[in-house]
Symmetry: C2
Subunit: 452 residues, 2 copies
């Protein structure tokens, strides 16, 4: 056993594979099965509390696919498992993904049966990518699909990510911020991720700072000196007492600049209302009130429906782990091999065979009217969402937009959702139609399976 | 903006920090506040579906703490935020953690108010570690606390991790396996993690392999040739048809070695019962039946209570994201600064001040009778659980056991849980007592806060 590594290294991602994928790859290799396969990444149903999936990660994952290699060290480690033939390990040593990837734009709202991406290539090569690609896309899509709901609930007020301490590990904490940008959050507390993904970083003080100082007022004074315009955390001991003291202090020290206060516990609506009244009566109408502490989209919606005077929200656990739907049942299914349609017949898990396209038709007001999931070569009205981003194992030049452009496109795509999908209440019906061609292909393929 | 990095690098973990931690550190530095602080990592309450937290990661995190540094590149990036003074950035450049860490053994079942770890050192240094340490320990503790329930439900039958595709990112997929070993799972499908953490790797075939082959029987024959003793996935088209065909094939080819079949959909209890009957009637009593597909501890318990003849389980989403409790409300709180007890008074968030110890008293049969949470210097009957693992910023030689030893200790610690904690039903009462000293310290500290 090696020294336990604290983090997965980029160069080791080729081993981030389920054993069955390598076992199948060896079997394909042993049988000389190297025809072209098409695999599709999609979901059969939405979680109860989601009206769509905000698909994220499906384009950026190609940079991992492009650079996947098995080094001598990897080969040695695989050999130690005593399951692989030397000739197959040689094949792995020469592995470079040589196929194609089609993917919807980053930050596209999708519905059941709509592929996030499709990968096409020699079957063993695509099979090897299964779990890695699923893991990569699942993370960002889960977190973005949750975070976008917070922005709906906040009705334009800023929502800031405080989730670093709760996300599942450090890769999640980091790429969460990419997903949150696509979902429309305002900022993050996480410095590395904020810098890497060009998102504003926010944060002022924790209770520990107030507790460590001589008293609360001393803590506030230090911050006002160091960070003019700062936001003061007022609930360490007693919120109303703290706010009264701030008002008295600011009245006798008009040069002091405080931008806001943050409430992190208790009855946030009542406290915000009281604090707002106190601040306004003192003429401090510019001081904003921020709220945090166990908030999710339902909590935010309730606060705002009770007209709580809150100007912005910090959210941790709820978006950090997507607490009410931490997993999406993404499936990565073989849909074609050797130019023949493929599907399985497992109860409740039937899928549509063949490579696909999604056509999205918008109405005159820019709202989604109808999606058609069709065969890849069919032509329907609307915008085709799946576009080639990788060909012969290389990223297509210009196919992956810079993140700032992706964020702009995602914002438009989210805005194209009809109101019922932006509501927190579950929808009863999605605007997805399966093309006649795909339905017939499914019927024919099922008949062939059953008569086999 | 840098090129978007696909993974967090170990060398960049010093920037994996919430902005408020660096803001507070600068404030401590500016005020010359460099007394010793004690921070405690604990939880106030259990999630509804957990009877204890299996604390994991709290010892291994010290290797990250020990190596945390701010490089010139980090300093430059921080300077770009326009919030830090050059002298403070110089202080960061010289940062080496110089304090102490006390932690319970890896894989210790804990109850509310019991610290997983305590960190002691100059306040700014400890404050900087907050989110990084919380993230690191939270991940493994969340996943282990779920996984251990699966082992309870499976009553000694093997449970294998199939979660790579669902865990939140790649760090989670990797360290999950460390947590699962501590929780008592049998194996993993994840090759890199299995190799890194010395856990057996399992896996045979997906539906795609069956679909890609000429027909199901061809797929099975390839696997039997390549992998004698393999487990065949039988639900791609029709389970009973597949099993009938396997039986006919094995009868006329007694040299073929098949170890098991796997059911991945449908009514698992009914299918397992039918398959077992068919196999047994054919004299194939040695062929095991494995089940997978959306299983959690409740599903496993139900299958076994209906006497479904299932020999082992593969579990993905449920343990991969801890679906019913994906977050623990871990808190990292200042409990002492400058030798004075500290606490906050926020509604519902009062804690006990001062550095602590946990004494665990076992009965004659090795079962937990009582835990006492005391001041660190108090002496009670029982085994003290918090032990120093880092001193003056260096890992104490021999304090972190090799993983195999940790797994053995964890297994004993889990076995010491009285039956009611091993049940899937929620408990009403935890065996934790707070020492009189701590209660008095809380009372006195609260009085001082209120009279301030």
């Amino acid at each position: 056993m090696l020294k336990q590594p604290p983090l997965v290294r980029e160069g080791d991602l080729s081993l981030m594979v389920d054993l069955y994928e390598l076992a199948m790859a060896q079997a394909y290799w042993a049988e000389g099965m190297d025809d072209t396969a098409v695999f599709s990444l999609f979901f059969r149903a939405l979680p109860d509390n989601r009206n769509f999936v905000l698909a994220c990660g499906q384009r950026s994952v190609v940079s991992i696919i492009e650079s996947l290699r098995f080094t001598d060290e990897h080969i040695e480690r695989l050999a130690s498992l005593d399951r692989f033939r030397p000739e197959f390990l040689d094949w792995l040593r020469g592995f470079r993904f040589s196929g194609s990837v089609y993917a919807v734009p980053e930050g596209t709202p999708l519905f059941p049966q709509e592929p996030l991406l499709e990968i096409e290539g020699p079957i063993a090569e695509v099979q090897l990518l299964e779990s890695l690609v699923m893991n990569y896309v699942h993370l960002e899509s889960v977190l973005a699909s949750k975070a976008v709901r917070l922005t709906f609930a906040a009705q334009g007020r800023p929502v800031v990510d405080f989730g670093l301490r709760r996300t599942h590990g450090l890769d999640a904490a980091h790429r969460a911020v990419r997903a949150y940008r696509l979902a429309g959050l305002t900022g993050t507390s996480n410095i590395l991720a904020g810098l890497d993904f060009n998102m504003p970083v926010y944060g002022t003080m924790a209770h520990s700072f107030v507790q460590a100082c001589k008293d609360e007022q001393a803590a506030f004074r230090v911050y006002a000196d160091l960070y003019p315009g700062t936001t003061l955390l007022v609930d360490t001991y007693d919120t109303r007492t703290a706010v009264r003291a701030i008002i008295a202090w600011l009245k006798s020290n008009p040069e002091v600049s405080i931008g806001g206060i943050r409430l992190d516990s208790g009855d946030l609506a009542a406290e915000a209302t009281d604090c707002r009244t106190m601040l306004d009566e003192a003429g401090l109408t510019d001081i904003k009130i921020m709220a945090s502490g166990g908030l999710d989209e339902y909590g935010i919606a309730e606060l705002l429906s009770s007209a709580a005077p809150i100007d912005g929200f910090g959210v941790g656990s709820a978006i950090g782990v997507s607490n009410d739907a931490p997993a999406l049942e993404l499936a990565f299914k073989l849909t074609e091999y050797g130019s023949l349609p493929r599907m399985k017949n497992s109860p409740g898990k039937q899928s549509f065979p063949g490579p696909k396209q999604i056509y999205r038709r918008l109405g005159p007001d820019g709202e989604i009217v109808q999606d058609v999931v069709s065969g890849r070569d069919e032509v329907y009205d609307g915008t085709p969402l799946l576009k080639p981003v990788m060909k012969q194992g290389r990223i297509i030049e210009g196919a992956i937009e810079p993140l700032d452009d992706q964020v702009r496109n995602a914002s438009e795509a989210i805005a194209s959702l009809p109101e019922r999908f932006r509501s927190l209440a579950p929808i009863s019906k999605v605007p997805v139609e399966i093309s006649d061609f795909l339905k017939a292909l499914q019927r024919d393929t099922l008949e062939k399976i059953r008569s086999a």
